[in-house]
């Protein structure tokens, strides 16, 4: 949409989605290029989660098309599973597997989905757990970790699959304030290493630091999409201004 870096890796065209009579997405189009870092913000209920959950088909859109890494999303289960391997996702509620240790959380999909050997999987897991700064918690269960630690494990778990795109859905909203920084630091590190990133967040500091493109959504539509500088200093839409004022005030 804005600054072109590489080829397009996600193409979203005129996406529509309703829940019953409620329209969550009213025709959203968005392109993401390789290496691009996109931050999406907007008021609650504006369809941000619905949009990024459509990208790995956790939500099935009513109409419109999504092409990820050259593959059009359809009802084809194999294609969906293939795309999910290329797309890592981090949830607001962490969603770690509580019955598995941190290490097992990170190796499970590697072994069963990517068909890696136990040893290779553990090495990859250790590598990423070190990069999110929690190698020493490897043999604990998620319930024994703090929220910030759990979210970093969730990031490592997604990265272990070596995805081409990372999706974050408000990764810091469920965290106590003192833990937000440790998660954001990790996210910045991976975003700056060139990982294609789509992130829903209201952490504007993070957005300023890493975003190539800011997107503001309201009532199921993209209201504004521009580079961070323009976005924060002279937004075109009144609604964006209002929203930014509300957010930046506190």
């Amino acid at each position: 949409m804005v600054t072109g870096k590489g080829e397009k890796i996600i193409e979203i065209n005129n996406l529509q989605k309703s829940f019953g009579t409620f329209v969550a997405l009213r025709g959203v189009s968005l392109n993401v290029r390789k290496g691009e870092r996109i931050v999406i913000c907007g008021p609650s209920g504006s369809g941000k989660s619905t949009l990024i959950r459509c990208i790995n088909r956790l939500e099935v859109p009513d109409s419109g098309s999504i092409v990820v890494d050259g593959v059009a999303l359809s009802d084809d289960v194999k294609a969906i599973e293939g795309i999910r391997r290329q797309v890592g996702m981090v949830f607001q509620q962490f969603n770690l597997f509580p019955h598995l240790t941190v290490l097992e959380n990170c190796t499970l999909a590697q072994i069963w989905v990517a068909k890696r050997s136990q040893k290779a999987a553990e090495e990859t897991a250790q590598h990423y757990l070190e990069r999110v700064h929690i190698p020493e918690q490897m043999h604990k269960y998620p319930g024994q970790l703090s929220g910030g630690q759990q979210q970093r494990v969730a990031i490592a778990r997604a990265l272990c699959m070596e995805p081409k795109v990372m999706l974050y859905d408000e990764p810091t909203s469920a965290l106590d304030p003192e833990m937000i920084a440790e998660v954001l630091d990790v996210m910045v590190e991976f975003a700056e290493s060139g990982m294609t990133t789509v992130c829903v967040t209201h952490e504007m500091g993070f957005a300023r630091k890493v975003a190539d493109c800011m997107i503001f959504m309201d009532e199921g539509k993209i209201v504004e999409a521009s580079d961070p500088n323009t976005f924060f200093t002279k937004p075109k839409s009144e609604r964006t201004k209002l929203f930014l004022n509300q957010i930046l005030e506190h």
């Binding site: 391997r85 890592g88 770690l96 019955h99 069963w112 989905v113 319930g143």
Partner: protein
Amino acid sequence: MVGLGQVFLLWLRENLFFSWRNGVLSVVVGGFLLWIIFLLGDWFFLSATWSGGIEDCRMRQDGACWPFVRVRFSQFVYGFYPSVERWRVNVVMFVFFTGIALLVWERTPWRGKIVLFMLCVFPLASWFLMRGGFFGLADVSTGRWGGFMLTLVLASVGIVTSLPFGILLALGRRAESLPFVKAFCVVFIEFWRGVPVITVLFATAFMLPLFMPASVNFDQLLRAMVGFILFSSAYMAEVVRGGLEGLQRGQYEASDALGMTYWQSRIRVILPQALKIMIPGILLTFIGLFKDTTLVLIIGLLDFLGMIQAGISDPRWGAPNVPFTGYAFAAVVYFCFCYSMSLYARHIEKKFSAGRDRRH
């Protein structure tokens, strides 16, 4: 130094007598308990007849008549299984209980292999061994099976098969994308759950043969087993469904988002967690099943309780304390089995939750 007596008094005051109302309650309930224990102890042991025969029981009627149990014991265990062939049942029971003991003991090596053996090889092997009719083993028709061995056969078949069927039915019931599978599962579960167990047994005992070609001689015991499997799977399916619904949606989404297939996610992520929530329900179903086996009485099979009842109605053992003795014996045996299952369930539950949900 505080003496042991003082500690005891302190404990009494803190736990039983910390207010006058509490004290009165403690005395009343405690007295009642003591009275019951005394009555039972007297009846079971002190006033009981331990040796001799029915004449001795008739002389001491205010206590249990243990000679009855002793004389009838082998029938309670084996039913009408011919006595020279009973070693076959003994072998099966020995392997059965050894297998269970090995599995309960957590440090047993090759537990996985033992489970496989107990689930796949053992049931078939024991069926053929007890049924006989080949290699010079005398043919013992299932009509002669009975007593505790029949209870075990029915209960373990019901228990072992109901869990996998129940899981499949519960998963099918939640399969929104497969409407026919879903409809089948819903109808199946609701039908068998809505029908009394006795009706199920009647239906499978007397109606199943109508659907079979006349040449197929469908064993009465097999028919009862089919009935048990049908309704216990339906019950189990509802227990499993409760477990599946107890999980957060995030667990399904996280495993989907990692690219897992439906079965990978069910087997590695969903079921292990759901199973933990389900343990009390599963065990309750098992215990219920164990006791429900007794209902095969109505289609002419005599399980443990059935054999005891048959013994009681034997006119040679006519004495007022004989029926009480028989039922008391049944109660004690059923209680021991059911209570150990429930103890084991609690143990598993504790083990599963240890170290996981706790933060330190």
